[in-house]
Amino acid sequence: MIKAILIFNNHGKPRLIRFYQYFAEDMQQQIIRETFHLVSKRDDNVCNFLEGGSLIGGSDYKLIYRHYATLYFVFCVDSSESELGILDLIQVFVETLDKCFENVCELDLIFHMDKVHYILQEVVMGGMVLETNMNEIVAQVELQNRMEKSEVNQVI
């Protein structure tokens, strides 16, 4: 299971948070801070796996993350998830974002947090991996966007 997905930038500013287990807001912020602290002090040439976050999960959990330009994509997962699988999933997610936003950059995430969520919802559901095929994800996202557009047109 995936317990949480956090996206934050090089300064620890959250760009998307998605917890699959309930934490109160202040705890969520604490977790973001801790995770940022753990992840940001690591060099870029070390591995992408990290154990020992104290606030979320405990010993059974690990952080799997990737660092792209200004953003960290961090997945907090339990031992039932495959490390490589999640690493791949992050890549798929980011490539999907790239396709949907056309050369995605941090600003896209900042201004369209809702859209990022909708894309993520097609990848992970309730902490479980839903779809890993990028084309399928993009197709579903676009169909839903089209539906939204047609509704807007109706109103106008």
């Binding site: 807001e25 796996f49 490589l84 559901m125 309730g126 095929n133 539906m147």
Partner: protein
Amino acid sequence: MALKIVKGSIDRMFDKNLQDLVRGIRNHKEDEAKYISTCIDEIKQELKQDNIAVKANAVCKLTYLQMLGYDVSWAAFNIVEVMSSSKFTYKRIGYLAASQCFHEGTDVIMLTTNQIRKDLSSPHQYDTGVALTGLSCFVTPDLARDLANDIMTLMSHTKPYIRKKAVLIMYKVFLKYPESLRPAFPRLKEKLEDPDPGTDAEPHLLCVQKLRILIEDSDQNLKYLGLLAMSKILKTHPKSVQSHKDLILQCLDDKDESIRLRALDLLYGMVSKKNLMEIVKKLMLHVDKAEGTTYRDELLTKIIDICSQSNYQYITNFEWYISILVELTRLEGTRHGHLIASQMLDVAIRVKAIRGFAVAQMATLLDNAHLLTGNTQRNGICEVLYAAAWICGEFSEHLEDPMQTLEAMLRPKVATLPGHIQAVYVQNAAKLFATVLRKHEGETDSQAAQETSQLLIDRLPLFVQSANLEVQERASCILQLVKYIQKLQQKNVEVAEEVTALFAGELNPVAPKAQKKVPIPEGLDLDAWINEPPSESESEDEKPKAVFTKEEHKHSRSRHTEVDEKELARRREVRKQEQANNPFYIKASPSSQKVYDAPGVEHIPVVQIDLSVPLKVPGMPTSDQYLKLEEERQQKEKAERKKKEKKKKREKRGKERKADSGPESEEDIRPAHQVDIVTEEMPENALPSDDDDKDPNDPHKALDIDLDKYVYSEKLPVRTHRPEVLKSPAEDRVNESIPQETKKRSGKEKKEKKKGKEKDRKIKPTVCWFPVQKSSKHKKKKQKKEKEEKEKKKKKRHHHHHHHSDAGGEDSVQNGTVEEEEPLPPMSNYSLLAENSYIKMVYDIQGNHQDESKVVVSVIFENKSDSFLKSMEFNVLDSLNSKLQRPEGAGPHDSLTVPFQLPPGVSNEARFVFSVQSIVMPQKLKGTLTFIVKSDESSTHEKLDFKLHFTCTSYLITTPCYSDAYAKLLESGDLKGSSLRLEGINMPFHHLLARICFHHHFSVVERIDSCASMYSRSIQGHHVCLLVKTSDQTVSIDAKCDEPSLLGNVLDEIKQTFSKC
């Protein structure tokens, strides 16, 4: 309508959207908090508008603010509104917000059930998809139970997109509502073989040699994964991994902490008797080098873990281990002092052979204590002194110079240690004192003994002044004792023996599960009477209360008379035999002290303490020397073995050569100390089974269901209204009491009965649910009858939101009744609201602590006619005090649509939220239900008037209260009293209490005979306390509450409840 839309769009032009909000926040970097608070005010205004687009926009912005750490749960109701929009665009905004901030404690979740069901069955797949996605994040046990059936249906949806989501979400449903697993299993199994939802199977994996290549790779991820895979293979093929020890030790030097930790983890599984010392030596080197306390502490715990795993299985030389522990004490600023301390204690107590050595080491540690107390930063490590002092005291007979240690323990600097350690110091100083006295006994010159007494009398006052009570108390007791002893000494009285007697007895280790593991010896009947049973006449006098209790009495009588004197004598003999064999019985014979005689201790050099080098523990042997010794020993043994082998080989010459390069087998290594700590701590005939090792907190434990046992008629629960749901706990007890009576007949029968009982229990969930809505058309009459019967018999079960009324029911059993009392009659909290020839409405009102101004009215609508009832509209004429909560934008007189239709004979429940201001007075609200009766030919519009009665009781919530808190509350004097007398109450006391608990939401705090104290709390936090007494047929209730008028009304209502009986 058109105007409304235009107006809406104009409004929207001025509203901020998400992008504007984000931009605004970015432009207000200096006063971000202030800016956001104005934005939240705007959002609150927007949420008040009728326009759903405006609301959705506001909710979308809230979702963003939630990410920044703002609590947006106050908008939960608005989120539900947006979720229920018919437009996909808004619906998905609503569901997203809900999935980000709803959780099991969110009370409006209960309002979403019908909306979610509607969305799940929507013709648009994305409505369904969005609902499934949202639900997967905030599913509660209630939602899981109510929607399990709908989701099951979706597993056969035409669209793979939906099927896939439905299958995934079932997992969450099972976790929240495990009862649904069994009936869903066959279909789930089928779906998991569904070819469409493509889940990647991950390739597994490679041999260890290949892994070595991975680990040697420069790519850190590969290295990490290689180590991870190694640890998986280690479990099955430990030998093949062990040969790569070098590589793994090398990884401890990696710059990447993740890799280092992985390697450490791997080492834990790799150690053997042969390589433990070597591995730990490497780890100790790393401890020295480690930068940063986190990694160093991790190393420390790992060293201890590695050494202590499976009862010190791999330790061949405990002297070495004690030395390692002592070396670890030089770690500055570690948090794990207590860990080292507990290891020292554990080893010293359990490994008897090592006590002499351990005591010597601990004495040196105590002598060096100044090293440890010098810096408060190193506080964590001073915990080891706790162990050191205790070991020196408890096993003081091993001390070479107890006087010196005693002196060390009473140094003034000790007073700077934490209190709990000082306390141990003081107590063990007394033990040492006893030892010193004994040592000097019989000497003609009593000078030394008297000096010791004087030392204590001089030093102890320092501890008597301690701020720590424990230290103070122990010190002053011991001081007085020593003073008294000194007096005796001066009279030349021999005291040593008596002083020693204070601390007599050896402490034997006992395994934590030992007691449990002792099998019940044959012939021992735990149910048999120990004393003579009460005579027949006595028990008759006592009370022939209920029917089945009397029977039980008879039963036990008839059984124990069978046990005659001979039998008793025989059993006693058996028991004695058992005790003799049982190591846990402290036997009369004194246990012999083992004298330590391991070689090498005498050679330990005791060097003068070097104060200038605090990082070493001077005067201590280093663990390295043991490593050398061990190597030598092994070398020797090996040589001997080789000699033997050569002999053998010579005999076997001509045959194939034995490959000798592989690692030696474990059996070849003999431990330096023969230690068998485990069997010593367990009873001889302990049972090997270990079924209690399962983690009780494992969330997946609920799913531990045997799916192979297929129960034919199982169906998923369908949402029905509560009175059908189940059995009162009382009835449950009746059922259970039946096997109890028969239980004692014979062993075999008993077992069978038990099995039967378990089966019953497993099947139970299926009995309590039956599909109402589906089969209703076909068998409505039969079903109705069934339902009525059930309603009479049974009572509701867990229902999350109505939790407190349940608790009332349970409480009444737990607190109100004692075993021998008769079962409770069935009770229901639902009272009639209104009824005509078409429809019957019953209702119940519940509050909760989360919102002091809201109550929820649950109304069950039952269609009594043969026609279809639809378009039900529920409306209430609000008063100033109590108002029906209507959706945002609705007028104050608008009616609410009941979210379902009723086919003939079917009933369903709807909930309405009311806001109330004052709760001290009961209130009645007039209301009307309008509905359309639709039969084949015609349809008519009907209405039914009703009066909703908000009693003061409905504002009370069953709240447990401990008796001490209760007493404090009464003593506080803030409560005002009132009282009530009920005459002619003809029911058992526990029934009376149960009724008050159930109907008036109280809980029993304490019950003594015919007197009970009870407690409840209002939604606005008023405390209501009752003292209920009964004698003959009169019940007197003395009551106290911080709100007199509320109390008066509650008492009136209680009076009414009992006037109806």
